[in-house]
């Protein structure tokens, strides 16, 4: 599989092209819609045929009729995928190379591309300033272009309200779908987690793509620096090497907390680092969805 480096993909101004390249990079092994799998509806029984998956055998029917039947499921070809993209200022990091927001944008575009081309519907929910901006989940190429154009118009600005954004995105899904949140999840952790759980309990699938950059993971800064919070404007001056150990420990705790909380509440979780090729990162995520 030939995947493009994230810096190469990020350098492509045309988001649609970038999304297509990413999707083509991960399409191998994904023969059918990656958004399906265990989220299907029962359709009918048919007599067991050699090669059927034993998991689909209806054992109750076997007990009643003494005959083997396989369950057939109807694939929801018009699965709705609502992509929630964090466009707060904290995503506009780092300055050099590919930022988390750009990476998230590419992921969003690639996922939308994948969904629409797979016959599913894709939508977008984000917050610009204090206003929610959304694109309803629809299919079709023209809708895809409009959605990609909307993503391209976005730029990191201020902070956002993740709980409100996620909740509204779920509200706009008419039927059971997938709410896919792409963020660094720095803001309002508890509220966000509660909302994610609530959305999950409403029957939707919830997935978290936790986007981080390498510098904020390793914190390999040197010398004295004055760090400025991108969202609040607050500053803190310290000796970076002296603070590195404490920072990394706190970051590790933060990431681990999110991963455990997500797993505990049945939320899909994937950590993606901006120096990893988007195709590879998405592929790993999508393949992991296959595994029950």
């Amino acid at each position: 599989m030939n995947v493009l480096d994230s810096s190469v993909v990020a350098a492509i101004d045309d988001l649609e092209l970038a999304a297509r390249l990413v999707v083509e990079g991960l399409r191998s092994g994904l023969h059918r819609s990656p958004f399906h799998g265990f989220s299907t509806e029962f359709s009918q029984h048919r007599p067991y045929q050699t090669g059927d998956d034993f998991r689909h055998l209806d054992w109750k029917l076997l007990a009643r009729t003494d005959r083997l039947y396989s369950r057939q499921f109807r694939e929801t070809t018009n699965m709705s995928v609502m992509i929630v993209l964090d466009s707060s200022r904290s995503m506009d990091f780092p300055n050099g190379g590919i930022s988390k927001f750009r990476y998230g944008s590419i992921l969003s575009a690639a996922l939308a591309y994948l969904a629409v081309n797979g016959g599913d519907r894709a939508g977008l929910m984000t917050m610009a300033g204090r206003q929610l901006r959304f694109v309803p989940a629809r299919g079709g190429r023209s809708h895809l272009r409009a959605l990609l154009a909307q993503i391209e118009r976005l730029s990191p600005d201020r902070t956002w309200e993740p709980a409100r954004t996620i909740g509204r995105a779920a509200d706009l899904l008419k039927r059971r779908g997938l709410v896919l949140v792409i963020s660094d999840f720095y803001d309002a952790e508890d509220e966000t987690l509660r909302e994610l759980k609530r959305v999950r309990h409403r029957g939707h699938d919830v997935a978290m793509l936790h986007v981080m950059s390498r510098p904020e993971l390793t914190f390999s800064f040197r010398g004295a620096r004055e760090f400025e919070d991108l969202e609040t404007g607050g500053t803190r001056m310290l000796d970076a090497p002296r603070a590195a150990a404490d920072y990394r420990a706190a970051m590790e705790t933060f990431l681990d907390r999110w991963a455990r909380s997500a797993r505990r509440d049945g939320i899909e979780y994937a950590r993606m680092v901006t120096d990893e090729p988007p195709a590879r990162a998405l592929r790993a995520f999508l393949l992991s969805r296959r595994t029950p």
Binding site: P94, G96, F227, T235, M237, L238, R242
Partner: protein, 441 residues
């Protein structure tokens, strides 16, 4: 501290360079945008303060390097107490033992005694390693000449100290101008009140029979009074307090007294602790036979000098055929080796002449003048003495410095040490690196 190359201090202006460099390139803390400060520990002030301190420390070290190098180039020489009494310092002290030093100071102490106390303190000196010699002389000019000869053979710093009451005529500027230019001259004046009366004890006269006449001279500005005191102590047992003793029997007493009084008119022998002891023995002195039999040959130079000078004396020479007394001998009188002049039974005028000649040759011929109370004023004395002696001027101190001596090596070492410290401090201030440079593979 003395600087042998003071012009090198112009280089101290170079200290402005690190100050300018510090002001222009002072490290500013970069501001780094970061997604969130949540995970950053709270260590604000110490860090900033550390860098501010490091900057100042670096500046101080750099200035210190330049300062130490400039100091070293100025060739410093630390004139410490240990070095002030450098082993190379040679000090010659001339002590005036002339007649005028027997006068009393304002505190009632004899001037000579006070002078000796001053000499003792000078001999102790600031350092034990000082080479010091003391020349005692009744003639200051001769003493200075002798001290100068000793200093000519000394190395390093050289100093001449003259301790005297500085009677007018005792020392003139001419005696000092002949000294080598690098010899420091100091004068220690023993102050004696000019109007005070002086007392002096002159030679006692033993007239036999256990009687000793002691004349006491009181010297006043306009006259000299003489008072005789008789003591009933045998001259044979009492240690001589005077230079000349006259041994005679009672019959010869008048002649002895007259001869002595005649001698006073030409000379006033004064008491000197170190003056030699002589005895003029009249023919009838009861101790004569015993002393003569116990006598031995002369064995000191001054004895020969005195005998020769008496025989050469004009008055004595005219009165005699050159043999005014029998062969002189040395005998113990009151446990003191004493030169005996044994007067022959001859003309008593000769006896008087011998006594007078002995007195004249034993004491300074101008003893009367030495008792002149007029002394050199301090201001005049200061003009005579070398100006270098007033204080250790920088020129004198510089000349006193050995040619190759310099403490600059210590400051060069300090400069090298500070260069190492500067490199260490500078390494601790590594510049920050942008996070994009740290991307992992």
């Amino acid at each position: 501290m003395i600087f042998q190359n003071p012009w090198a201090w112009i280089g101290a202006a170079a200290i402005a360079v690190p100050i300018l460099v510090h002001l222009l390139t002072r490290q500013r803390v970069d501001r780094t945008p970061f997604p969130t400060l949540r995970f950053l520990p709270v260590l604000p002030l110490a860090t900033a303060r550390r860098h501010r301190l490091t900057d100042l420390a670096l500046l101080a070290v750099r200035c210190g390097v330049l300062l130490a190098a400039t100091w070293a180039l100025a060739q410093p020489y630390l004139v410490a107490a240990a070095r002030r009494g450098d082993p190379a310092t040679a000090r010659a002290i001339v002590l005036d033992t002339s007649a005028s030093m027997s006068r009393l100071t304002g505190s009632g102490v004899r001037a000579l005694d006070e002078a000796r106390a001053r000499v003792a303190s000078l001999e102790r000196g600031p350092r034990r390693s000082d080479a010091t010699t003391t020349v005692e002389s009744a003639r200051l000019a001769l003493g200075v000449a002798g001290a100068s000869a000793w200093l000519d053979r000394a190395a390093g710093r050289r100093e001449l100290v003259v301790v005297s009451d500085f009677q007018r005529g005792a020392l003139g500027p001419g005696e000092l101008t002949g000294l080598a230019p690098d010899i420091t001259v100091r004068t220690v004046k023993i102050d004696v009140p000019e109007a005070s009366a002086s007392k002096a004890e002159a030679t006692a006269v033993s007239v036999g029979g256990g009687t000793t006449l002691v004349p006491t001279l009181q010297l006043l500005p306009d006259r000299t009074d003489v008072r005789w005191t008789a003591t009933a102590v045998s001259v044979m047992t009492r240690p001589p307090e005077t230079s000349i003793q006259i041994l005679a029997n009672p019959a010869e007493r008048p002649y002895a007294r007259a001869a002595l009084q005649s001698a006073w008119r030409s000379a006033i022998p004064l008491s000197h602790a170190l003056a030699p002891a002589i005895a003029i023995v009249f023919p009838g002195a009861p101790e004569r036979a015993a002393l003569r039999s116990a006598g031995r040959d002369l064995d000191q130079r001054w004895m020969f000098d005195l005998v020769a000078s008496i025989r050469r004396d004009q008055v004595v020479a005219r009165l005699t055929d050159g043999r005014p007394f029998a062969a002189p001998v040395v005998a113990m009188v009151a446990n003191t080796p004493t030169l005996l002049l044994l007067l022959d039974p001859a003309d008593r005028v000769v006896h008087a002449a011998v006594i007078a000649a002995a007195a004249r040759n034993l004491v300074a011929p101008d003893a009367v003048e030495e008792l002149e109370p007029d002394s050199i004023s301090p201001g005049e004395l200061a003009r005579w003495t070398d100006p270098r002696s007033r204080s250790a001027s920088a020129d004198a101190r510089r000349r006193a410095i050995p040619p190759d001596a310099s403490d600059g090596r210590w400051f060069w070492g300090l400069a090298l040490l500070l260069i190492g410290v500067e490199a260490f401090v500078r390494r601790r201030r590594r510049p920050a690196v942008e996070p994009s440079d740290e991307r992992a593979a």
